[in-house]
């Protein structure tokens, strides 16, 4: 493609908003509004408006959808940044058009994860006053503090990453970017010179390297599953398989998220050329692979949980298996996997709307699985004497509305960002001859 046409395509979202854009914006704001309405009730009455309760004699679960959704968002974020880092590190140029979207998704999802911590706790007003002074002494103890730390670190890492790569693009596309945001661009471009490009490229490579190296230890590879797996209280949570299992879910969810976002941009801005079919076809195979891992790790847990397992673990596993909604989650991921297999065998079965639908169902499945993991885990304490255990839990409208709000925030984030910076990086359309990129190999 000619670079000029490419650049026009690339900056298309930055042009005047279309009707579709306005529609999406209103939908996002409506979602956030609904959630704010409910959240106000929680703020004024306390967490009593949720369907959470104390485990034990209290007959309920103290952690529910909020924590499930927290894990889910962190998973999406973690998977997103791993994928983007893999693209950069391994030179998977096919996926270059979606690399920045994955990074943006990471930022948005981490924001939602932080939001969920805020609405989960009983005293959000103390999040700063209690956490900051306690950090130096508690960080070596509390897995929750590890999480806060690592999430912050990933946030900073991703933001740095984005910033570094954005400077390159803004410099070259400046004439196509709106003057309204001139001060912002100025700030972003502080001290930029073309000489830095090569250095930045090395830096980005190293950052990607760091992210990949840390991936199996941090976030879903480590600290998030450790929130649960290290506790002496609940049978269903223990075990060394939680890390791999969480990571597989993170990657599955993240690929699904990226497919949906990429498809949305392609649809709205006619980006058939920019994000070609083969990107989606490739992503769907990755989705299939990660979904397979996810199901395989579930199988591992089920098998070790029911065959002559210790009583409490066996009980927890049996109840999990007899919970219909668990099979809904597994079924959704399983169906997605079947479709991906089928379309790999018979390419004509593949279509973008279908893979988007599959991605959506997979995301629903993983959210259910994560929430169930939290809730069911809590319902099967080693201390089984309480009559109230297992208690029952169905998220209240207040809790459910938070999903709308969080998705609304992600959509809003993309809508706003896409008006300011190109959501696909310039590298994705550059040929060898363009600019000073000696190492660049484009598809």
């Amino acid at each position: 493609m000619s670079t000029d046409v490419g650049r026009e395509t690339l900056t298309r979202p930055i042009q005047a908003p279309s009707k579709r854009y306005v529609g999406a914006l209103l939908a996002a704001l409506a979602g956030i509004g609904v959630w704010l309405f409910f959240y106000y009730q929680q703020l004024s009455n306390g967490l009593i408006v949720t369907n959470l309760a104390d485990w034990g004699s209290g007959g309920g679960v103290p952690w529910g959808l909020y924590i499930g959704a927290f894990i889910w968002w962190v998973g999406i974020a973690h998977g997103g940044i791993i994928l983007s880092a893999a693209v950069r590190l391994l030179g998977m140029d096919t996926y270059q058009p979606v690399a920045r979207m994955a990074e943006l998704l990471t930022i948005a999802a981490l924001t939602c994860a932080g939001l969920y911590i805020m609405i989960h706790v009983g005293r959000p007003d103390r999040l700063v006053t209690s956490v900051v002074p306690a950090w130096p002494t508690r960080v070596q103890w509390s897995p929750l503090m590890w999480d806060v730390t690592v999430i912050t670190a990933y946030f900073v890492l991703t933001a740095t990453y984005l910033l570094l790569t954005i400077r390159y693009d803004i410099h070259r596309l400046r004439d196509r970017l709106p003057d309204t945001f001139e001060p912002l661009y100025k700030a972003l471009m502080l001290g930029y010179s073309e000489k830095e490009d090569q250095v930045v490229e090395r830096m980005v490579w190293w950052l990607a390297f760091a992210i990949i190296i840390m991936a199996p230890l941090l976030l879903h590879g480590g600290v998030i599953p450790w929130l649960f797996a290290l506790l002496p209280s609940m049978a269903g949570w223990a075990g060394g398989v939680q890390g791999p299992s969480f990571l597989s879910i993170a990657l599955t969810s993240a690929v699904s998220g990226i497919i949906i976002i990429a498809a949305a941009f392609r649809y709205v801005y006619d980006w058939e050329e920019l994000i070609p079919d083969q990107v989606f076809y490739g992503l769907s195979k990755w989705l299939g692979f990660f979904a397979l891992l996810f199901l395989w790790l579930q199988l591992q847990q089920v098998m070790t949980g029911i065959f002559a397992a210790p009583t409490t673990l066996q009980h927890a596993t049996e109840v999990k298996l007899s919970t219909p909604v668990y099979w809904v989650a597994i079924g959704l991921v399983g169906l997605g996997l079947l479709y991906i297999f089928a379309s790999a065998l018979k390419a004509s079965l593949f279509s973008i709307p279908r893979i988007v639908a599959v991605s959506f169902l997979v995301l629903v499945g993983t959210l259910i699985e994560k929430t169930l993991f939290v809730v069911e885990g809590l319902q099967h304490a080693h201390f089984a004497l309480y009559d109230g255990v297992p208690g029952h839990y169905i998220p209240s409208p207040v809790e459910l509305s938070s999903i709308l709000g969080a998705v609304g925030i992600v959509v809003l984030f993309f809508l706003v960002v896409s008006k300011v910076i190109p959501v696909v990086e310039l590298h994705a359309i550059q040929d060898h001859h363009d600019d000073a990129e000696a190492t660049e190999v484009s598809d």
Binding site: G56, V121, S130, S233, D387
Partner: protein, 417 residues
């Protein structure tokens, strides 16, 4: 005053250690700074960096001053110092403790009356692992801090729930927050009704304090109480999730009893931290072993008692200092063990044998509550008790009965917490 900078010495003291010493010494009406300095030097003696004689030369005047009428014995002690052989197991700490024993003071009184000198030396006494271990061998005549705990004799319990009611009233708990909870259960290998009385276990190795992200849930160093700082807790409920015993009760909505019903003295402990009575909204609560009583806030005669213990007419609950061999929980346990060869295999329990246990010992939490009676097995099932929770005005299933119709009921609640 020997309070010069000692940083040139090799033994270093972490902030934590110093804080611990300060807390112990704050208990006394004497000079904390002097005491901390003494305690540090005492530890240097233990580490062999400072001679015992030198230590005494430096501090004997302070000791004399604080002991007042005891100076005859102390002068004698001072004469002895030169002869004390590090190997004979009788350090200066032992000497002072022996002195206290002679005068028939309880360990806690030593803390109160002895002042900085004795307090410092008691820290000294508990400094080295070896010394503490040898002390245990000799029947624990080294003071190593109070450790509040309970022995609950389940054989005595008749399920009247008086303890639950007393706890509920004393701490102004909200409906269903049963800090003390009594199970009636049936089990495969046990006949008829059995009871399990369950306060917070005040675990020595408590998962709840480990996981708390902000250090609100903490173990009070001076006496091992596991408490929640209501001013720091962010209400994440991680402690609740990590506790193997299900003893935590979050304040989901506005408390049933406004703060104005709770005297300030019962909220603040002796360190000035808000840990007593029921928690405010959005914060975690659980059994405090009546921290206000232990701090003397409800009168000196209430020290070493709990509301549940007092209410129990069956003599099932015995509260006291587990480090004191003469305390109620220790004597009660010993008495039972002595009466009969202890038989831990409760499943094949014969008539007149006694089993003692810590609840779910295998969880590794090392509870400070010990039981006489039978531990419920995994097959045990909770059943309706002789007295129902409703009969005594308590709520059992908090979710169904309180929280589910919560928000509306809550809005009619009392004043701001």
């Amino acid at each position: 005053m020997p309070d010069e900078d000692k940083t040139d010495q090799t033994t270093s003291f972490s902030e934590d250690e110093t804080r611990r010493m300060e807390r112990v010494l704050d208990d006394t009406e004497y000079d904390t700074e002097l005491g901390v300095e003494m305690a540090k030097d005492a530890q240097r003696v233990a580490a062999g960096e400072l001679g015992e004689a030198e230590f005494y030369r430096q501090y004997h005047e302070d000791i004399l001053e604080e002991f007042g009428e005891d100076d005859r014995e102390l002068n004698g002690l001072l004469d002895d110092v030169g002869n004390v052989d590090a190997g004979d197991g009788e350090g200066v700490g032992d000497k002072l403790q022996a002195l206290a024993d002679e005068k028939d003071l309880s360990r806690r009184e030593v803390m109160k009356k002895g002042g900085a000198a004795v307090a410092a030396l008691s820290i000294f006494a508990s400094a080295g692992e070896n010394r503490a271990a040898s002390a245990e061998g000799e029947g624990g005549d080294e003071y190593d801090g109070t450790r509040w705990g309970m022995t609950i004799n389940l054989n005595n319990c008749d399920g009247c729930l008086a303890c639950m009611v007393a706890c509920d009233q004393e701490h102004k708990l909200s409906g269903g927050a049963n800090w003390m909870y009594v199970f009636t259960y049936e089990d495969d290998h046990q006949d008829d009704e059995n009871f399990l009385v369950r306060p917070c276990q005040h675990c020595t190795d408590s998962p709840c304090t480990k996981v708390c992200p902000v250090g609100a849930r903490h173990t009070r160093e001076q006496d091992g109480l596991v408490l929640t700082d209501y001013e720091i807790c962010i209400g994440c409920r991680y402690c609740e999730v990590s506790c193997p015993y299900g003893v935590n009760y979050f304040q989901w909505g506005e408390p049933d009893h406004p703060q104005s019903e709770i005297p300030e003295s019962q909220s603040q402990d002796e360190r000035g931290r808000w840990v007593g009575a029921r928690p405010p909204e959005g914060v975690m609560g659980k059994c405090t072993f009546c921290v206000d009583r232990q701090d003397g806030k409800m009168g000196d005669d209430k020290i070493g008692t709990t509301a549940c213990e007092e209410a129990c007419a069956m003599d099932a609950i015995h509260f006291g200092d587990l480090n004191d061999p003469e305390s109620a929980p220790n004597t009660h346990l010993e008495q039972y063990k002595d009466e009969q060869e202890n038989d831990m295999t409760f499943q094949n329990r014969k008539e007149h044998t006694v089993s003692t246990f810590q609840l779910m010992e295998e969880r590794g939490t090392d509870p400070n509550v010990r039981y006489v009676g039978n531990e419920p097995s995994q097959d045990a099932e909770q059943v309706e008790g002789p007295v129902s929770y409703e009969d005594v005005g308590l709520v059992d299933d908090r979710k169904e009965e309180v929280l589910d119709n919560g928000a509306m009921a809550n809005q009619e609640g009392g004043e701001e917490a």
